[in-house]
Amino acid sequence: MGYVLTTKQANEIFAELSTQYRLFAPKTFGNEGRYSDTGCVRYGEVTCVEDITFDKKSEYSFKEAILPVMQTLFYFTEREVTEPKVDDKKTMIFLRSCDIHAVKRLDEMYYKNGPKDYYYSLLRDNVKFVLIGCEQSFENCFCVSMGTNTTDHYDFSFCKAHDTYEINLKNTEFISLFEKVNASVMEVKVPFVTENDVKVQIPDGLKAKVTSSTIWDEYDSRCIACGRCNFVCPTCTCFTMQDMYYTDNGKVGERRRVWASCMVDGFTDVAGGGSYRKNYGQRMRFKLLHKVYDFKQRNGFHMCIGCGRCDDVCPEYISFSNCINKLPEALKEVDQL
């Protein structure tokens, strides 16, 4: 079912939704770019349609809405632990097709890999997804290659068309929302990208043996191990535990989990000084094979969704997609060994 909304009607709907949901969407943070006098598009809470940035790719993904950068697991005293109180407001996330595919990856990790994750479920179980269509591909996108350019898994779509907003409703639970504002009913087709400039081809016979290829070596010096690629990635799920204390004697505090990056020093450090993958090229290899090889071995589909955010953000202009396209060469190399 489709609707077309005026800005006024859209904002009435936003007001209505805001009573039950935290509306999480890509927005422009005017002065918060890395460089002076630059902005940044990333996710944040919105209250009206004008808050949403439709025409740019967000630098960071939606994932922080269901997988916060930092999450308190519990508060502790010497003798007991207490869980934090949970905000019972539900979350509605405005996101693109590729990112909806990313949700499936997060679910795979947090619902299925090992026991179901308690804290993830608290947030994730109450999320509604609103699809933002893509009129055209952005720079570095390779969603078509990864098969994430289209989706049916959303509650309704919300696309900006000049001065109106077009809605394709999937979840009938929201019918009244649109009827209430007398939205004009119309056939609406969600725009999906059908071609990207960037294309990748993950070789069929990919195997763990490519680890010993020399294609990774150039990243030893090119990569600076900053982890930006992991933090902007909508499918990176790793975290580290932190015990934060409030008092000098450390008897009262909280345990948190915070995002972690397999590219950043310390990721594999074990007590006593051991660590693995000291070379940055090997970290690149570990990350890349996780995204386009071993995650699939374990779970049946690739982790990477082809959003290209890692390429967008890399200060050293390292292209993940370009590295994927070196895999056939790497395979040939290791097969000759």
């Binding site: 960071y60 204390y245 990056s261």
Partner: protein, 320 residues
């Protein structure tokens, strides 16, 4: 040949080693200009000079080899440049009205450079508008960050961009990129405490390395732009020295006010017998004492809350 050298100097020409020939200096506030002005410069050099130009150490152009008698024609030709580069002028077609206060120089700033904390050229132009024309020998330079590529500490007024870094602890993942960058590239004002960076406010120079290196945008820049104002550095034969910090975390308006106040101070205290009416401000301050200078300079200045003013400055430098 009868030439008033005092007058021609004020008109931004100079007496050169070649008798009968002068050179014209074109000021480019902030050191950045549209290429549409270049053909005119070329034309003047071709038509009146010897077909060469010198890119000056103060980011202007100097056209050498101009016969003195061509000065009025050169002034006419300069008019479009003076207007195009928005240089204040008393009367049209008479060239530059003064030369004492030198071109306001600037590094490339945040037009291009990732480190820069502001638009250096824009601020340079604002200062130019406020202070020029003036015959007093003032040198002002702006640089985008504490790297000081513009060498502002060798000027009377050195302006260094700063940003007051803002931490959103909820975005910090304790990767220590900021702490390491600050230690290795800057002043080591950050340390980790309880998995979060803690900024030593006294030490921090506002360079923004923490913001640049933060992979998760936990550090961002302050909405307000801040500056470090350094005072009375100079080159020269007598006692060259680096400018010392006067105010840290100062704003644009205060800087302009302080510079304008200093013109009044110098007018009141300059040595009337100074050769060529030219005396570095520093030597005047050496004479009146810093407190007197500060009294004049800070007249009517409303500093931002964050500003830290140095009580008394002691300069070092080379003494022969």
């Amino acid at each position: 040949m009868d030439i008033n050298t005092k007058k021609l100097k004020k008109n931004a020409f100079r007496v050169t080693k070649v008798r009968g020939y002068t050179a014209s200096r074109i000021r480019v506030p902030g050191g950045h200009l549209d290429v549409k002005f270049l053909p005119k410069i070329q034309e003047i050099a071709d038509k009146f000079g010897n077909g060469t130009i010198h890119i000056t150490s103060r980011q202007g152009f100097e056209i050498p080899g101009i016969p003195f008698e061509k000065m009025p024609e050169v002034n006419l030709a300069l008019q479009s440049l003076i207007e195009g580069l928005e240089i204040n002028q008393d009367a049209m077609n008479e060239g530059y009205p003064a030369a004492g206060t030198r071109n306001i120089t600037a590094c490339i700033g945040n037009k291009v450079c990732p480190f820069a904390c502001y638009q250096t050229t824009a601020f340079a132009k604002r200062i130019e508008k406020a202070v020029f024309p003036h015959d007093l020998h003032f040198k002002v330079a702006l640089t985008g960050c504490p790297n000081d590529c513009a060498k502002v500490r060798m000027h009377d007024f050195g302006i260094m961009g700063m940003t007051l870094p803002q931490l959103d602890p909820s975005r910090c993942i304790d990767c220590k990129a900021c702490v390491n960058a600050c230690k290795k590239k800057s002043v080591g004002a950050l340390k980790t405490e309880n998995y979060r960076p803690v900024r030593n406010e006294e030490k921090c120079i506002g360079c923004g390395e923490c913001v640049l290196n933060c992979p998760n945008m936990a550090w961002t820049r302050s909405e307000e732009k801040y500056y470090r104002l350094t005072l009375l550095g100079r080159t020269g034969k007598k006692n060259p020295r680096l400018g010392e910090d006067f105010i840290k975390w100062v704003d644009e308006d205060s800087i302009i006010k302080i510079i304008l106040n200093t013109y009044k101070y110098v007018t009141a205290y300059i040595d009337p017998r100074a050769p060529g009416g030219k005396e570095h401000i520093g030597y005047i301050v050496d004479r009146t004492g810093f407190d007197e200078f500060k009294k004049w300079a800070m007249e009517g200045v409303n500093l931002p809350k964050a500003a830290e003013v140095t009580d008394r400055i002691y300069w070092s430098g080379i003494k022969y």
